[in-house]
Symmetry: C2
């Protein structure tokens, strides 16, 4: 049984062009944003740099922030899912997922790190970046479901969504230097906030509470 999203389609000549356009827009958006600063880039500029009309640009991205951010996040979802699938079937599912996530979020090249710095400077970009975490849900659901078997399809969906949420929280905590409007929710004035450890630490810490859920799911479908 072949998976419709991964192996099937022999790229398709048409699809190729689409992806090329998408990538051209990504690159253009990020490059321009880095050159002039994010606020000095209009969609018209991005479209022109990519050689398409502004209207076409909007067929690919729903917002300017999305275009810029997507150059960084690219196909992280697919890489994470692949990383999970790559682990031997013997390892604990929770570990496989955790390691895959950490691995794919820390393989940050120099160029990528530079872009991240840019993203942190604008709230709109930060939000768009955090929103990308939900995009790992579908592929992650697929690989988890594969390990849990058909009976756990529903569970897989919830677990994948929880992982995405945990990752989002980890990223929030990580790219928050310190000064921050108290949107943390009504917490004690003690201000006992985690001192923002390294990203891998934050990710592991955020995923830790979900481990029992993974274990239980695995136990239930694999007696």
């Amino acid at each position: 049984m072949w998976n419709a999203d991964t192996v099937t389609t022999p790229p398709g000549l048409r699809e190729r062009k689409k992806q090329a356009t998408r990538e051209a827009l990504r690159k253009a958006a990020l490059r321009l944003a880095m050159e002039r600063g994010p606020d000095q880039v209009r969609v018209e500029d991005i479209a022109e740099a990519a050689g398409v009309s502004p209207r076409t640009y909007n067929n690919y991205f729903a917002s300017r922030e999305q275009a810029i951010v997507s150059a960084v996040t690219a196909d992280r979802e697919a890489r994470i899912a692949a990383a999970v699938a790559a682990r031997p079937a013997g390892v604990r599912l929770a570990d496989a997922v955790t390691e895959a996530v950490v691995e794919q979020y820390t393989n940050t090249g120099e160029r990528e790190h530079e872009a991240l710095l840019l993203i942190t400077t604008r709230t709109a970009l930060r939000d768009a970046f955090l929103d990308t975490t939900t995009s790992i849900e579908p592929p992650l659901t697929a690989v988890i479901a594969e390990r849990l078997g058909d009976a756990g399809a529903h569970t897989a969906r919830v677990l994948a969504a929880s992982v995405a949420a945990a990752v989002r929280i980890a990223l929030e905590g990580w790219l928050r230097p310190a000064g921050n409007a108290g949107a943390t929710g009504s917490f004690g004035a003690g201000g006992l906030v985690v001192p923002s450890g390294s990203l891998p630490d934050q990710l592991r810490a955020a995923l830790l509470p979900l481990v029992p859920a993974f274990d239980a799911a695995e136990r239930r479908t694999r007696p």
Copy 2:
């Protein structure tokens, strides 16, 4: 030591007016949308009906959909958090949360149900509605953290986010009659989709996989 979000502020006369305006906008948005259909309502109309300028409208809501939907979701977050807090300290945290969520999502009046029907007719409204699930995170984090103690503050955040994600999934499954573009992710061609049970059932089912995580958290901080 008083908590800034809950007990402190004796309503504040100024704050009252703000909430009044917000509610006026909510009501106006929903009413107009129900009268003429969602696409025949411009922000100008809503603002006028609420007696404020269009610009002010945008100081309260970032999108037209948000305004309409918020009339339905109102303060559900607070009600859910309160419902959890209301359960006796003895009951299992997982049960307290599950029941609170189910309870607050099924207490749907006639008027509310009518509005939900409207929401399902437009994708943009559906999305806005699903997005409101994340708003339960802060208050839910607070009540969960209270039960887990300071050591579990971090865990509480992740659990709350997971609950929000699960609720979102349940709602997605519920307000999806049948015909749907396959955004479900790469699944087997078997199309083994859950036959969309009642909302309470969907909610319980979605929260079920998280129960072990709650139990473990509770066990860890309360030996």
